[in-house]
């Protein structure tokens, strides 16, 4: 079984996603990075599900996909709002409140 390969893939995706979240200034790119993490989770879940033969992982993955879609919807709406108010979606400009 190729479990390890799947897990490695998941881990790599996860890392890329995390890197994106931390390093990217563009809100949309950050959103996409988060999607990467979620997908790495899905890969993990499916791989584990296959190994254990239980349907839980599949179910979980479906839920994750659905929820991710909702999340991205909300997220994009917010980015839009931000763009409308500031004409920019650079996250590092969002620092009105601190300290």
């Amino acid at each position: 079984m190729l479990l390890n390969q799947f897990l490695v893939l998941g881990a790599v995706l996860f890392s890329i996603g995390v890197y994106g979240v931390i390093a990217r200034r563009n809100a949309v790119l950050v959103l996409m990075s988060i999607e990467l993490i979620l997908n790495s989770v899905n890969i993990n879940l499916l791989a584990f599900s296959l190994r254990s033969g239980t349907p839980d992982g599949h179910t979980f993955a479906l839920y994750v996909i659905a929820v991710a879609a909702a999340e991205v919807g909300v997220g994009l709406a917010m980015v839009l709002l931000m763009y409308r108010n500031r004409r920019s979606i650079a996250l590092d400009e969002l620092a009105e409140m601190k300290g």
Partner: protein, 502 residues
């Protein structure tokens, strides 16, 4: 696929409708709100407020009836959704807190010319998510409930669309929230991989007491996700910014209900899914708790904006709630720890909502969020000042006001463990509770000892809804402080189905 499922002997799960009646009432109320919002003219939108509040109160009725029943825990969906005493108490907490939030929001939302219907809809949705969270005993349902309560909250935080601060609050909350839940999900996937099931009790059995690095990693990541939700340091960074930027009633909601939901999930996972891995999470909670209290307190000392101060205060209070978890794995301490968390949450909710009620009421007059705007409050609004004093003192943990008992149970749980580490954390907590008075006392000082800014001593008009909210919260803060026995047994370990020792 469907055939295969049918062939596997599909039978419709038995649903205990009485037990999930609160969720159903809420869902029904949600639909009703949507429809009314669609069809009502702006002039008649005020109807939505009573609808929202009655929905919450309506949902509270089945909570009561189930609680009064003698059937004990009701388990559904193969034990993945359980209505036990623990969940009932917290459901009641969420519903009542929601009700108070409705009370303190009503005038704010109406006068702010916001989207009333949508606001109530989102608020109720989020509460529904919390109610579900209280019963979830499965990774999937926990995840879904978490997102259910979070996503509306993101939007509510950004509710004042034209206000860049509100935008900022929403976006920060959103991005970090999603990121944290993604990390948590990764941990969950690992948990699933290890145990082969998403059901918490199965995981608990499968994990046992053996530790491997992968298990540690899984547990840690899951804890991180919830730690974010309860804004434990260093995962708290979103909280001050979001609290400050969001509309004040939303802040109240986040700081109480949302935080409580995070703790519910945390407690469920810790006690049901990973009790055996306490060697991982005990030190983690120890560090988190100490850090959270200390950082929250010292940061709060410097704040000049009351909401931001309350944000840090809420962070610090989270540290106190976390305290008993640092010893919750030790034999014999679980009971005290769980009880402490639940009791603390109840008392904290009553007090903190009251504080926000006053903040909203005062801000209606002063139009300022600065602590200095409370100057002379005792002179021109003695009632509000006295209530605020009660709330602040309660947060500071001064008997005989509610908060002290929360702290007391936390210390009690810690010391019952009797290890050096627990004593050390108790001393850290003791010192922190003193430091905390530095900023709570600052508010008291402004109100009692400073003159009103600009000599403006016109009285504060308190809307009746907020008045009711203050009466509820103030009353419970006082009564629970004097007679904490009323709430403490809600945290019995036996009430948490599947928990170790329960």
């Amino acid at each position: 696929m469907l055939n295969a499922l049918l062939a596997a002997g599909w039978s419709a799960p038995v649903v205990d409708y009485h037990a999930i009646a609160p969720e159903m009432v809420l869902a029904g109320g949600l639909v009703l709100l949507l429809l009314l919002d669609l069809f009502l003219s702006d002039a008649k939108k005020w109807v939505l407020t009573p609808v929202a509040s009655f929905t919450l109160l309506g949902a509270f009725i089945p909570v009561l009836t189930v609680a009064l029943g003698t059937e004990g825990a009701r388990s559904m969906f193969d034990g993945r959704y359980v209505v036990d005493d623990f969940s009932l108490v917290l459901k009641a907490l969420f519903l009542l807190a929601g009700y108070v939030v409705v009370l303190i929001s009503a005038d704010h939302i109406r006068e702010g010319n916001y989207y009333e219907g949508e606001y109530w809809f989102l608020l109720l949705t989020s509460i529904l998510g919390m109610v579900m969270m209280a019963s979830s005993r499965d990774l999937v349902s926990i995840f879904v409930a978490l997102e259910f309560l979070s996503i509306p909250a993101y939007m509510m935080a950004a509710w004042r669309k034209r206000d860049p601060k509100s935008n900022e609050a929403g976006i920060k909350y959103y991005l970090l929230g999603v990121f944290a839940s993604a990390v948590m999900l990764y941990g969950m996937s690992l948990l699933y991989g290890i145990s082969g099931s998403t059901k918490l009790t199965d995981i608990g059995t499968a994990l046992g007491e053996n530790l491997t690095s992968i298990r540690a990693l899984a547990v840690l990541f899951v804890v991180v996700g919830f730690a974010f939700k309860v804004s434990a340091v260093p995962f708290h960074t979103w909280a001050p910014d979001t609290y400050e930027g969001a509309p004040t009633p939303v802040t109240a909601f986040l700081s109480v209900a949302s935080k409580a939901a995070g703790f519910v999930a945390l407690v469920t996972v810790v006690f049901v899914a990973v009790p055996g891995s306490h060697e991982v999470w005990q030190p983690v909670f120890w560090i988190l708790s100490a850090l959270t209290m200390t950082v929250g307190n010292v940061m709060a000392l410097r704040q000049t904006n009351i909401v931001r101060m309350l944000a840090y205060s809420s962070v610090a209070q989270g540290g106190f709630i976390l305290m008993p978890l640092a010893v919750a794995g030790i034999e014999g301490v679980q009971q005290a720890a769980l009880r402490s968390v639940v009791t603390y949450l109840l008392l904290y909710a009553a007090t903190n909502l009251g504080v926000f009620g006053i903040v909203i009421a005062v801000a209606r007059k002063t139009r300022s969020g600065e602590i200095s705007s409370y100057g002379g409050l005792f002179g021109y609004a003695p009632g509000l000042a006295a209530l605020m004093t009660i709330f602040m003192a309660s947060l500071a943990g001064i008997p005989p006001l509610g908060g002290w008992f929360g702290k007391f149970t936390a210390f009690q749980a810690l010391i019952s463990a009797g290890t050096n580490w627990s004593y050390a954390l108790a001393v850290v907590g003791a010192v922190n509770s003193v430091v905390a008075f530095g900023y709570y006392g600052n508010v008291l000082r402004e109100m009692w000892m400073k003159p009103a800014p600009h000599g403006d001593t016109s009285p504060v008009k308190v809307p009746s809804a907020i008045g009711v909210a203050l009466a509820i919260t103030g009353g419970s803060t006082l009564v629970l402080g004097v007679l904490p026995g009323l709430v403490i047994h809600f945290g019995d370990l036996a009430g948490l189905t599947g928990a170790l020792g329960g």
